[in-house]
């Protein structure tokens, strides 16, 4: 297993899928000449050419809309929305076109489209550019929502998304491209809609995903030093939402903390907590806690922004509270 960055893992997945299937192509702002704003598609234009690496106008609706159309007639587009904050501009396509086509026409059409985007805060981009609104997309049946926390999962899940016959929103984190991790050699896919235990423990169950996984892993280290071993379940997909491993863990630890980067209200933590209670009410020995962003649009100032974002210490504190 090689140790590579998240950026490399995602880039490799795209590259390998494009090599494998000539119907796979990429379109989005600055994916070509620039090489991707996060340098994920650097070198792609030279290798695959303009036909398959398509720079677009600043027109998010067209990027996703044309992706839908192309996918309906047999291609496998990867439509890139530079950041998830601009996904609102294409909202109708993401939640009201792509996920409806298959069912609304009685199964006649399908939308094998991947919408790649990057979310998250902590980069001093201000209120409109720093969001983690993943939960709102996961509200819509018909759309699959994936958000990996490790390079290995990013690669395997992106490949699975490209091969999937349904629309998949693939959410990366703009501040995680540099993180490193072991990635299996060769071609593999990671199934969409399957959660994974990323760390074993018996004291408390942490359920999380994406950036929350990093925070949780760091918190786990600190807690371990104090003799507290947490179990960490990485959801990886928000829809379909696989509660299996989280439930199993919760039945063992009887305590849970949910860690997400976005706002808590109507967020991921609410759904996960509710499902844990629904399925394992009798196992709960303490109220499940949510660790999330403070309920404000993120400010530009670095310190204030960090103050508003969930931190490792918040995870540590939450674990201790439920103990």
């Amino acid at each position: 297993m090689a140790i590579i960055t998240m950026r490399q893992a995602i880039s490799d997945a795209l590259w390998e899928e494009m090599e494998r299937d000539p119907k796979v192509f990429i379109m989005g702002q600055e994916v070509g000449v620039w090489g991707g704003t996060y340098a994920v598609t650097k070198g792609f234009l030279d290798h695959f050419g303009e036909k398959r690496v398509r720079d677009t106008p600043i027109a998010e609706s067209a990027i996703v809309g044309a992706g839908i159309g192309a996918s309906m007639v047999g291609l496998r587009p990867v439509s890139e929305i530079m950041t998830i904050n601009f996904a609102f501009v294409a909202m109708d396509y993401i939640v009201n076109e792509a996920p409806k086509m298959h069912t609304m026409f009685g199964g006649q059409m399908s939308v094998p489209l991947v919408i790649r985007t990057a979310g998250g805060g902590g980069r001093q981009l201000g209120a409109t550019h720093s969001q983690t609104p993943d939960a709102i997309f996961a509200h819509f049946p018909g759309l699959k929502v994936v958000s990996p926390g490790t390079p290995a999962d990013a690669k395997g899940l992106l490949k699975a998304a490209i091969r999937d016959n349904d629309p998949v929103l693939f959410i990366e984190h703009a501040a995680m491209y540099q993180i490193r991790g072991e990635v299996p050699e060769g071609d593999y896919t990671t199934p969409i809609g399957v959660s994974k235990v990323q760390r074993e423990g018996d004291a408390v169950t942490i359920v999380t995903y994406c950036k929350g996984l990093q925070l949780s892993m760091a918190a786990a280290e600190q807690l371990s030093a104090e003799g507290i071993e947490v179990e960490i379940v990485d959801l990886r997909s928000l829809r379909p939402l696989d509660m299996g491993p989280a439930l199993e863990s919760f039945k063992k630890t009887n305590r849970a903390v949910i860690v997400e980067e976005g706002w808590p209200s109507y967020g991921v933590g609410a759904e996960v907590a509710t499902r844990l209670y629904e399925a394992a009410f009798d196992y709960a020995d303490a109220p499940i806690k949510r660790v999330a962003q403070k309920e404000v649009p993120l400010p530009y100032n670095a310190a204030l922004e960090q103050f508003a974002l969930p931190q490792v210490d918040d995870v540590v504190a939450a674990v201790k509270e439920v103990l």
């Binding site: 067209a62 809309g65 044309a66 192309a70 587009p77 109708d92 396509y93 298959h102 069912t103 009685g106």
Partner: protein
């Protein structure tokens, strides 16, 4: 492509069929057998009939929610159309779609789309699919005058020119978007002038009530596009004789105006043309009308006798991927 007698009779038949299916649908709606919205195409039959009659099989068609005309023109049976209106399992979209969402992918008809203007970028994507694969089909995208004011229009049309996509932008200007007259919603009354902002060749057909003129204009546009010259923008003037949907109080126009337009009934015009030019006798046309009457009666019987989709089928078309 000079039309033979039988071709004329077939086109006449289609127009009458649309008219009759819709008149009867209005009754079924009043009787509470059809729900939701029902947008009648009555008055506009020459447009879709003309378009479909000159397209090649490889030319895709996609339109908005006022879609019964295209549905019947491409050859979806009256049975499957009315069954869809009644929400039956035998409907063309298996009772999932209703009036606004008819499609038959086998017949290269891609729906029936209810979010105003949203299907334009999707159409661009389909055209991209054909261009990408080196197929010579043209995507014919029909939309209303009102739809040209939404951002989706702009993004889709711009993209089509930037990428030189084989798409025919076909605006059916029926002079109102719901109750809003063109000049109250659009900065330009000549909708085709919008194409100037995209450097796309354009024209307006002033008389969209005459199917022969529609055929000519659309045929020329398709030739232009098929020769590789990129998108074309065609505005066709027409008029809807009924309200926007059922239950429209029609406060926005005078009865006189409707009466005046009814004199240009496209079926009447075609009837006069056929008989006047001695292409066929009145008796031939009478026979067609009678046959259509029978066909529609049978279709309604069929639809009424058809089963509702079973509750167990609710999730049948949730995902195209089979796990």
């Amino acid at each position: 492509m000079a039309l033979k007698k039988k071709d004329h009779l077939e086109l006449y038949r289609q127009m009458v069929l649309i008219r009759r299916v819709e008149e009867r649908s209005a009754e079924l709606y009043q009787a509470g057998k059809i729900g939701g919205f029902l947008h009648l195409y009555i008055g506009q039959e020459a447009v879709s009939t003309g378009i479909v009659s000159v397209r090649q099989p490889q030319d895709r068609i996609i339109t908005a929610y006022r879609d019964h005309g295209v549905a019947l023109n491409v050859g979806i049976s009256a049975k499957a159309v009315i069954a869809e209106l009644l929400g039956k399992e035998t409907g063309v979209s298996k009772g999932r779609g209703g009036s606004m969402h008819m499609a038959d992918v086998e017949k290269n008809f891609w729906g029936g789309h209810a979010i105003v203007g949203a299907h334009l970028p999707i159409a661009a994507g389909m055209a991209l699919g054909d261009q990408y694969e080196g197929r010579d089909g043209v995507t014919i995208c029909m939309f209303g005058d009102g739809a040209t004011n939404i951002g989706f229009f702009h993004e889709g049309v711009n993209l089509s020119k930037v990428w030189n996509l084989p798409v025919l932008w076909l605006c059916e200007n029926n002079q109102y978007g719901m109750g809003t007259a063109v000049d109250r919603a659009s900065a330009v009354e000549q909708i085709h002038m919008k194409a100037e902002g995209y450097g796309i060749p354009h024209s307006r057909l002033e008389d969209g009530m005459d199917i022969m003129k529609v055929r000519e204009a659309v045929g020329a546009a398709l030739d232009h596009i098929r020769s590789g010259k990129g998108p074309y923008f065609l505005e066709v003037m027409t008029y809807r004789f009924q309200g926007h949907s059922m239950g429209d109080p029609q406060r926005y126009r005078e009865k006189d105006e409707v009466t005046k337009w009814e004199k240009s009934d496209p079926i009447g015009i075609y009837h006069r043309y056929i008989v006047g030019d001695k292409i066929a006798a009145k008796a031939d046309l009478d026979k067609i009308e009678e046959a259509v009457e029978v066909e529609v009666n049978e279709a309604i019987e069929f639809a009424e006798a058809s089963p509702d989709p079973g509750f167990d089928t609710l999730y049948d078309y949730m995902y195209a991927s089979k796990e």
